[in-house]
Symmetry: C2
Subunit: 192 residues, 2 copies
């Protein structure tokens, strides 16, 4: 066959990465398949060999982004659970700066973009939220007994903070908000 082994898988990954960048930067509707494929240096015709529709791609990209999250990754062995949680938390609340990471958090960056999409997209979003919540709770419970309710609302605060901070056009307010949420999260999760 004319294509090397795993060529299809590689192409698929590339489409996912290019697509996610554009979804983050422009939202679902404003991102065209044409543009995604041009960024991959392919043409639109090739798209449908990998995905059935734009919506299916969207759900897959969100799931992929959630998997790439640092929260989903392993804790470095030289850090305690508590120290690792503090590190994750402070890095999360800096992420707003112009989506510089490769896989910005879909929970914050696409929050209101997901509501109206196909069920599979909402399912990917819900699973990501549940996973983030579980990870934080598991880390927190190794050193404190903070309640499930506390973890749930802290998770919402983190996501809300990043989503809002990205949108604010007032730099001082943005910084205040991010710093306030770090402070509150540290208190609520007993990281002080």
């Amino acid at each position: 066959m004319p294509y090397p082994k795993h060529h299809a898988a590689k192409t698929r990954e590339k489409i996912l990465a290019c697509a996610y960048k554009l979804f983050i930067a422009r939202g679902f509707d404003a991102t065209s398949i044409d543009r995604i494929m041009r960024d991959c240096q392919l043409t639109r015709g090739a798209f449908y060999a990998h995905f059935q529709s734009k919506s299916q791609l969207y759900g897959a990209a969100i799931a992929q982004a959630a998997m790439q999250s640092r929260l989903a990754g392993d804790r470095p062995t030289h850090l305690s659970e508590k120290a690792w949680l503090l590190e994750l938390l402070t890095s999360y609340l800096c992420k707003d700066t112009s989506a510089k990471t490769d896989w910005p958090c879909p929970l914050a960056f696409l929050a209101t973009d997901v509501v109206r999409r196909e069920p599979e997209v909402r399912a990917a979003y819900t699973a990501s939220f549940a996973a983030m919540n579980t990870h934080i709770r598991e880390l927190a419970q190794t050193y404190s007994n903070c309640s499930e309710a506390t973890v749930l609302s802290v998770t919402a605060m983190l996501i809300g903070t990043v989503a809002i901070a990205r949108t604010l056009d007032n730099e001082r307010l943005r910084i205040s908000l991010l710093e306030s949420s770090v402070q509150t999260a540290v208190m609520q999760l007993g990281l002080a």
Copy 2:
């Protein structure tokens, strides 16, 4: 003249209301001027007598929605500041249910939809956020001395909670999240 006095102003209000409903239900890109005007029982041609562009309409609708918020309204004289804040907070955290109110909170419902729009739209969003924060702080400071940082992060939690709750496809998780945030806000704002 063939049109009654204030006809233009009435029409403008009607366009704003119909447009906002659609923006909330479908987002900016998926809302067409054609559909907005059909809902107003007018045609597309009339639109440009009232607004210069869809973006300008979007900013105006967000500003209008923020003004219509209960938070921006007057406190009933028979309620203390503390009781009124508790009432506002619990009603805010029920709002997610399918946007049943006339002017759902743009901060939560349009959070990630605003980032990429014209500066005037982001400015309207920022002003709404600052106003919500100030209102909560002013009420809270009549009976407690909670910090500005606390109020900022609580505000972000409220908005984040509603935005996320709307998106979740798991009813149990949605309810847990809303209840957890009520509980946390009550604690943080000294409303217990």
